[in-house]
Subunit: 418 residues, 2 copies
């Protein structure tokens, strides 16, 4: 009956015995520790993709880890969605009513969740004010997955007093560091190699998925898988592909989806449709097996973002041994080393040149793809996130109140302004 | 900031000081008790409507009550939906694969939920096998909200070993009692008088909602609010209304919705549409404020079910002081005392006669409506459910292993076959 649970030992085949043993060793000091992760949904989105395997793996190394989800009303999620966008630089009209809804719903959830754990990790802004309603038994950590390069200043000022009640904040990239009175730690996101999106598919499974969507496979595939959002520059991808097509014979597939609450996404999608042709396939669909099949089969995967949080689709494609051309922005730069395990580009022209180069040179794309897979094996699997959390928890165990000197080792970096 | 949380004291205005004090007294022995409720969703359905206020109210009387939700994959919910239908008598092809999905997903949730509470209440079949994965610290209770009059025997035999690991089972009606080796307790569902569906609306709010849906109000309203499902007999309602219309001048409103996964519901809905006319309004919509407005404004509310679990829409309408004509089946018979606070009917003819009688006799429907509201005040508010849980918990506190003699008081009834 337990067959479907991934255990730490299952990672040996990917990262080797040594890494698994090292991670287990780090967990030894934390046996029986009670940890709670709290976020706002069980379904959809990158946070769920990380928490789902991470929580099971933490239990697998002996940490009693729970995953709690808060309940929200439609107006609560209306407010937090606006907050999410504003944290990424969007506008928000932050009136008294919005704050009231936000704080009231979180308070109700605080009543329903008795968090008396040794460590509590609160994810993203939705449950942030939970901390106001507990007497802490151990450190509380705010883990924010949002791109914080340019947060809306009014919103940030409102959230800051909540954040500063925490014992530390965890962000995905050093670039998101903020002037805060608490230590800041940086843990990059990672992928689950055992889930449907990332597990090894057979040739037959790949073929079945591509045929299901009538995707032609007699020419090399050039693929971008990304939300239909102007920051992902799907129009730029089409332009680059059209230029490249003068020199190579390939098929472009754009796979994406439109967030239900994103009217702009619909416009972007519509603007692409006239480009549809025999060689340009545009699909709006949620199908993780199709994502896997496309990333596995593609000659080249693009993630030509103009602006990007982390861009975990890059690691996903790299994991399949595929050569990736990524925009030279945000977290993509932490995944791709230009010319080594992929290419970084800053313009349509550069993208088109790299497409031509990779489609023409099978040997190059295979060697880059192999190095890409090695990069993910070393840095971007869930076990690596786990290890960073363990280092972080161990730092707390030896020193409940973190200070600026605690976390300076190779796994954790931090900034601190107090 | 705490303004939106309902406290036990807020019930004084409905049930009086004495009842509130009695309930608080019963909670005194349970101060600090740690209780967890576990179900499968935060959104939609009767169980959520009960748990949402009940959990807050339990905390309000000093019981540390948590609400946990399990996470399920689409195939898991596919299986449990079939189980739900089969528990109500439907068919199920219960193969090895379905059992595996069911038990694997529950096991994953067991890992993510560290249930070490004094009392654990597991709701409905979805999280039922959780009990296999814990060393119990106190009693575990299975609280089943499903109509169990005729469960599919194959499914029942599969679930029974899980059920019998519990210390007690709670069903909504005595009629659902089963030959089980554990004690069975009966707690009827109840309504939340503070939620949007049941709180007092102003005349203006009622008018606004009805106008929004262009519901004519110049004639008396005859209303049925119920899923479009043949057991709710919407066609019978239309026939009864047409017969009644020969003697009275009224408008019929059928408000319902179709469960997304219910192809039969769509057929039922379509079969009604040809009856639409100037005097017959049929709306498929989820809008709790509209439910409230219709129940508040109606001259008569029908719940002409041919088969019914509990039929909480009856209590909802009675709470608004409206006269209700209910089918003489299931839990409706516990809510309506025929001829006193409403009418029970067993045929289209009877229903049409009662419609005519009530629409013609304003005084009768007002006096019945008043008695209806009194009934709900006495028996079907969340505080009454709370009181029954408290009696139940107190019985455990004095006697962890319940036996057949423990629960025989006026609030709890039980059967036992061991």
């Amino acid at each position: 009956m337990n067959r479907k649970i991934v255990h730490i030992e299952d990672y040996k085949k990917f990262v080797g015995m040594e890494t698994v043993e090292r991670v287990k060793e780090k967990a030894k000091l934390l046996q029986g520790l009670r940890v709670a992760h709290v976020n706002s949904t069980f379904y959809g989105g990158g946070v769920v993709e990380i928490l789902s395997p991470l929580v099971l793996l933490m239990n697998s190394v002996g940490i009693n880890t729970e995953w709690r989800v808060i309940q929200g009303s439609p107006d609560f999620f209306g407010v937090t969605k606006k907050m999410h966008n504003a944290l990424q630089g969007g506008k928000i009209n932050l009136g008294k009513r919005k704050k009231q809804i936000y704080e009231d719903v979180v308070y109700q959830n605080a009543i329903r969740n008795h968090l008396d754990h040794d460590i509590v990790v609160i994810h993203d802004p939705q449950p942030l004010p939970m901390i106001n309603h507990y007497r802490k038994k151990g450190p509380w950590v705010w883990r924010c997955h949002v791109d914080l390069s340019h947060p809306n200043p009014v919103l940030w000022e409102y959230l800051k007093p909540f954040i500063e009640k925490y014992d530390a904040a965890v962000f995905s990239l050093k670039e998101y560091a903020k002037p805060l009175k608490i230590p800041q730690v940086f843990i990059m996101p990672a992928i689950d190699p055992f889930c449907i999106k990332n597990k090894r598919l057979t040739e037959r499974e790949v073929k079945e998925r591509l045929e299901h969507y009538e995707i032609p496979t007699h020419r090399p595939l050039v693929v971008q898988i990304s939300r239909f959002d102007r920051w992902k520059d799907p129009l730029g991808v089409i332009r680059a592909f059209k230029i490249a097509s003068k020199k190579i014979d390939a098929t472009l597939v754009l796979l994406g989806n439109i967030a239900i609450d994103d009217p702009e996404g619909e416009k972007v999608y519509d603007s692409l449709l006239e480009a549809r042709s025999e060689k340009i396939v545009i699909i709006s669909r949620e199908d993780t097996a199709l994502v896997n099949a496309l990333q596995s089969r593609a000659a080249v995967v693009l993630q030509k973002s103009i602006r990007e949080g982390f861009g975990l689709t890059v690691a996903e494609a790299m994991w399949k041994g595929t050569a990736v051309i990524g925009g030279n922005v945000g977290g993509i730069r932490y995944q791709i080393e230009d010319g080594v395990n992929g290419f970084l580009v800053s313009s349509v022209k550069q993208a088109s040149e790299r497409i031509v180069q990779l489609v023409k040179d099978e040997k190059l794309r295979h060697s880059m793809g192999e190095r890409a897979r090695e990069t993910v094996k070393k840095k971007f699997l869930i076990i690596h996130s786990l290890e960073k959390y363990l280092d972080f928890f161990n730092a707390f165990e030896t020193n409940y109140k973190l200070n600026c000197s605690v976390l300076e080792d190779s796994y954790l970096e931090q900034s601190c302004s107090n």
